[in-house]
Symmetry: C2
Subunit: 180 residues, 2 copies
Amino acid sequence: MEKRNSIFIATSLDGYIADKDGGIAWLDSIPEINSIDTGYNAFMSRIDALVMGRSTFDVVCSFDIDWPYQKPVFVMSRNMTEVPEKLQDKVYIVKGTLSEILEQIHQKGYHRLYIDGGKVIQNFLKEDLIDDMIITVIPILLGNGIPLFADLPKPLDFECKKSIVFLDKVVQNHFTRRKT
Amino acid sequence: MEKRNSIFIATSLDGYIADKDGGIAWLDSIPEINSIDTGYNAFMSRIDALVMGRSTFDVVCSFDIDWPYQKPVFVMSRNMTEVPEKLQDKVYIVKGTLSEILEQIHQKGYHRLYIDGGKVIQNFLKEDLIDDMIITVIPILLGNGIPLFADLPKPLDFECKKSIVFLDKVVQNHFTRRKT
């Protein structure tokens, strides 16, 4: 099966995934967007598993909600040694280089991966390991914050295959890595 | 007549208007885009005049082409004292604060303004003086460069009214300032 690493994330108009204090209250600057389908469920149905970093995992755990993922979640962590009991069979710790981690996950039969978390996405991009990016732009200029994108060893070409405007306010751009 | 300040600019997927050396060769990473109509002429027909900084003016002058603008160009410059002879009646020097400059231009009867140049756009945004932004995203991650957006004294809400994909590759998002 074709291996694909995808991201599905929201940014501000100026490309931040969190404000300078790590806050995401600005995601609610257009609250109506939370009550419509922006393709998240369809995206989730197309992936086999998630890959995230320790800090994203901790953020998800801190939410006062049931575990939100139906697909296996692989947490990249050097220090974590065990998964909380209630998340056994749902969450797996993976260690090593990105290639080693991907190899482990692929060998378990998971090929279409949702890569999540700012730092993890940046590390995957540094090694040119992202195939698809669905970026929902919340149209607010924050002025500063934690950027989605960071330095790269070389430029990477993508192409925008689709763009959808929601509510006459929010735009979602679908990019695919263009290999020439 | 309604006063509007608009920008029409291309950025990389990671929000840069030039690479770290100021280069724009990456704008040609999808060369076909230069031979199609991405709405520039329609945009130009809707504006009364351009406002740019000295450095953008110098860049335009450095191109080995005829003067490209049919509309009056106002160059914001503290140091420039006169306009090259062949550009008299086409280019005007303006000085002062942004409000003073806009006042001067409005008094001449020009109300719908194309604000161009990275620094000038950032300064207009700092004073919340941009109404419309048409941003054409060339889908390349540069990794670093000169960003379109910079720090702001406060966040600014926009809304995306329209999005167009060109050539299955390039996306152009149309944002309008949302005043609540």
